[in-house]
């Protein structure tokens, strides 16, 4: 379920990225006579990489959200259950603490993916 939540923004962003490859790059590839595989590895993937990573960032945020929600429903383990438990026990301060925790973890996950994307697509985005 978490996978299904996260996959859509990644797919859609990748599709947009592939569609937005500048005509010039495709012409370069045609003049060089790159074949299908070479074109994909050397042109399509790097050109679409920034889009793929912005999709990944959204995907990571969504899946974190889905995980917390799932834990609330399933119960037994995790931060989601902790919030649910604290709510039932009327421990407001625990809930606030847990919410801050959820926010910080989500933020860190987002930063990690962003940094990874920045490293992989170095050079591309500034051109």
């Amino acid at each position: 379920m978490i996978f299904i939540t996260a996959i859509w923004p990644i797919i859609i962003n990748t599709a947009v990225g592939v569609r937005n490859i500048p005509e010039d790059y495709r012409n370069v590839s045609r003049v060089l006579r790159l074949n299908g595989v070479e074109h994909f590895v050397k042109i399509t993937l790097p050109a679409a990489a920034p889009y793929i990573f912005s999709g990944l960032r959204i995907g990571v945020g969504l899946s974190w959200l889905a995980i917390v929600a799932a834990e609330m429903l399933i119960g037994g383990v995790g931060i989601g259950f902790f919030i649910w438990d604290a709510w039932n026990a009327s421990m407001i301060s625990d809930i606030v603490l847990a919410l801050i925790y959820v926010g910080i973890v989500g933020f860190i996950l987002d930063r990690i993916v962003a940094a990874l994307g920045k490293w992989v697509t170095r050079g591309t985005t500034t051109a």
């Binding site: 500048p22 012409n27 370069v28 003049v31 006579r33 050397k42 050079g123």
Partner: protein, 283 residues
């Protein structure tokens, strides 16, 4: 069969968009000899780039054909390398890798890895870019990018080098510098070059032959002017040369008298005066 190196024979090009047909090129005939430097000049929108793209094989001609060295052109290939107006280097590759991708693809079977590396370095050296091998295109200036683009095109050892307004996006000083560089390289390698340009001075300075195109739609070759100036040419000395100025004047007169793109204000005013007032308003 003609004995020319490159022949463009009776090329027509029409574009279909929806129900409309636009005739862009009509009966383009052109012959180019080996080692010749040919410029195509004309107003924007007259189909210069279309001609070049047809020679490159990127778009097919509606009728007619291009013959290069005895073979018909019907697909893009490394024997006709293109330098684009906006350099079109791949931004995720370094300067070295951008040239290497072309060399590796073209000479995969015929050269060893060490020879290919040597060849990449030699071509980058020729355009004076050896100092920036590991920089990415985003880190170097526009003039430098264009040099790398030229190196990439030269490295494929093309039969004909196609330049699509190669200096169009550069400032005047960088442009002059690169023109000199291209002249030097051309003198050294004796390449066959087709260059598209808007710049009259550039055309006269660099070319052996200037092809002037008429205005579109249905553009065709208007005049062909042979430039008979000794090489190497020096832009400062030529500025006072009588023949140089004559050639310049010939191209200018073609572009601005015979093939005027926009009517002058004076003409417009006269036209307006000739019309009755109400129709002028409705127009």
């Amino acid at each position: 069969m003609s004995k020319h190196y490159l022949t463009i024979e009776d090329v027509n090009k029409t574009f279909h968009t929806g129900g409309n047909t636009t005739e862009v090129l009509k009966q383009i005939d052109l012959t180019i000899d080996r080692g010749e430097y040919v410029s195509i000049i004309g107003h924007s929108g007259c189909g210069k780039s279309t001609v070049l793209n047809i020679v490159a094989g990127l778009i097919p001609a509606t009728s007619g054909g291009v013959i290069l060295d005895g073979k018909e052109v019907n697909a893009p290939g490394p024997d006709r390398s293109l330098v684009f107006q906006n350099h079109s280097l791949l931004p995720w590759l370094t300067v070295y890798e951008n040239v290497a991708i072309a060399v590796d693809k073209t000479f995969k079977g015929s050269k060893t890895a060490a020879e290919r590396r040597e060849w990449v370095l030699k071509n980058l050296d020729m355009v004076n870019m050896s100092h920036a091998l590991n920089k990415r295109p985003a880190e170097i200036s526009g003039g430098m990018k264009q040099r790398v683009g030229i190196a990439r095109a030269l490295a494929m050892q093309p039969k004909v080098l196609l330049l699509d307004e190669p200096f169009g996006a550069l400032d005047a000083l960088t442009r002059a510098h690169l023109q000199d560089e291209v002249m030097r390289i051309q003198a050294e390698l004796q390449n066959t070059v087709i260059m598209i340009t808007h710049d009259v001075d550039e055309a006269v300075l660099l070319s052996d032959k200037i092809v002037m195109m008429t205005n579109g739609p249905a553009a065709t070759v208007g005049e062909v002017l042979s430039i008979d100036l000794p090489r190497p040419r020096d832009r400062i000395a030529l500025a006072e040369d009588v023949r140089y100025n004559k050639y310049r004047q010939a191209v200018l007169s073609f572009l601005h008298e015979k093939q005027r793109k926009v009517e002058t204000l004076q003409q417009k005013r006269e036209e307006k005066d000739a019309q009755p007032l109400h129709s002028a308003q409705s127009a």
